[in-house]
């Protein structure tokens, strides 16, 4: 109960900041729109049956792009305001920090999905099948985005201390999230095809999400504490750099 309350407090703090500035919502939302338009331009000429095979790929590529963008920003704010150390020193469970960031990322991703899916439906006639089963669609988007955010939040936290390392986040994120994205692809295809085993696949995705969130939560503390104090190789690099920049003082005679 306490964990949930702390999570809610931290998440509400982030969401309130977001509500005041609308930075992430507007940039990520507009980026989603841009990606959808790019997909429309790239795949405009596809026949209806080919469209139906291409749409799952478009949906989850878009989530992957928007997710990487959002995740770099979610922790950037802590870095810019130098509040990461304060957050670590605060009397809250570390798990609550992870869950709060996860909730914020998930909220942004779902908001972008709410732009993307109708957008795809507008531009590609084959995607209008999505409207037939709104419940399955919502479950699918939540489960897919949750799994993606569970992995992403962990590594975004680890890379939070360094600016300009955003390429590394994508390098880590895309190979590691392929299992959940592959499941999401299959489920989306089954949703479009009206496959009878759709809910079966969704249940498997839910199980996978539980595993990913559990592993992410278990590793979060180790990664985040590492973010606060540099490891031995980095300290040694700094020491070497300092030594070669300034020559050592002459020994006393």
């Amino acid at each position: 109960m306490r964990l949930l309350r702390q999570t809610w407090l931290l998440a509400r703090n982030d969401l309130r900041q977001e509500a005041r500035q609308l930075e992430l919502v507007l940039t990520a939302g507009f980026f989603t729109l841009v990606v959808v338009v790019m997909f429309a331009l790239a795949f405009f000429g596809l026949a209806a049956d080919v469209q139906r095979k291409a749409i799952p790929g478009m949906v989850w590529l878009c989530v992957a792009f928007v997710g990487a963008l959002t995740l770099t920003r979610v922790f950037d704010r802590e870095r810019e305001a130098a509040t990461l150390a304060a957050l670590l020193a605060a009397p809250v469970d570390r798990l609550a920090i992870y869950l709060a960031k996860l909730v914020v990322t998930l909220a942004i991703l779902l908001l972008c999905s709410a732009i993307m899916v109708p957008g795809l439906g507008l531009l590609f006639p084959a995607a209008q099948v999505f409207a037939a089963d709104p419940l399955a669609l919502i479950v699918l988007m939540v489960l897919g985005c949750l799994g993606y955010a569970a992995i992403g939040t962990l590594f975004a936290a680890g890379l939070a201390t360094s600016s300009g390392k955003n390429v590394l986040l994508s390098v880590i994120l895309y190979p590691l999230t392929t299992p959940v994205l592959l499941f999401a692809l299959v489920a989306t295809q089954r949703l479009l095809d009206g496959h009878p085993e759709l809910w079966n696949t969704l249940a498997q995705m839910a199980a996978l999400d539980v595993v990913l969130v559990a592993v992410g939560a278990a590793l979060f503390e180790a990664v985040l504490i590492g973010a606060a104090n540099p490891g031995a190789p980095a300290q040694a690099r700094a020491a070497r750099a300092a030594r070669f920049a300034a020559p050592p003082p002459a020994p006393p005679p």
Binding site: T161, L168, I172, T178, L182, L219, A236
Partner: protein, 226 residues
């Protein structure tokens, strides 16, 4: 005493490799369906097993590194991660050559192919993060390795259900004993080589971190003698 182990292994591998090649090409029957192209199997399969083995070793060592802050485990994790990438590269080169000869196409999108490629990508990312990451990169990389090791079975299963929309491809059927025995000999040779490499690399990594600690100690201000 243990510092001679990798060199003994290397010597053993050096002696065994010519025998392997001789055995594969001269003393093992030619497979009926695939012909001589199947000979690559004796190096492809052991490399794939070594790749998987060291991926798991890397994940476990990274877990010990994070939970016990063990430098020895960290060195083993780095060495195993590099071995995974190296063996994976071997698998990804030999696999398409074999596939091209047997299936007529180098890349069929078979579940094992795709999952090996994804595993390889994860461990390349591991090495990239370790090399170019921020100041806390060894912890991020360790978390990545643990996730990678957990992902191995999940990736395989995910690719398998993803493949249901694609045609199934044939896989190697049952083999006679003479072929299996040749495979074991090749596995032994490659395994000795890879364990020796990992051993030497882990030792080198420990020396490097000892040197790092020496630098930190040399630069930190010492209390002035009274």
């Amino acid at each position: 005493m243990s510092k001679y182990v990798p060199y003994v292994l290397l010597a053993g591998a050096a002696a065994l490799f010519p025998y392997c090649v001789q055995r594969v090409f001269l003393h093992t029957p030619i497979e009926a369906e695939m012909g001589t192209a199947q000979k690559i199997f004796y190096f492809h399969v052991p490399l794939a097993w070594i790749c998987m083995l060291f991926a798991v070793v890397c994940g476990i060592a990274a877990g010990i590194q994070l939970s016990k802050r063990s430098e020895r485990a960290e060195a083993v994790a780095v060495a195993a991660g590099e071995m995974t990438v190296l063996a994976g590269l071997g698998v990804l080169i030999t696999g398409p050559i074999w596939g091209d000869a047997t299936w007529g196409t180098p890349w069929t999108g078979d579940a094992r192919q795709v999952s090996t490629a994804l595993l390889w990508l994860v461990f390349v990312a591991y090495l990239l993060v370790r090399r170019y990451g921020p100041s806390n990169s060894e912890r991020i990389a360790a978390a990545l390795a643990i996730f990678g090791a957990i992902d191995v079975p999940i990736i395989y299963y995910a690719v398998k259900i993803w493949k249901t929309t694609h045609p199934q491809t044939g896989v190697v059927g049952s083999l006679p004993d003479s072929m299996w025995n040749t495979l074991w000999v090749c596995l032994l040779a490659l395994m000795m080589l890879s364990v020796a490499f990992v051993w030497i690399r882990a030792g080198q990594e420990r020396t490097a971190s000892a040197l790092d600690r020496a630098w930190i100690a040399a630069e930190s201000p010492l209390p002035k003698p009274a």
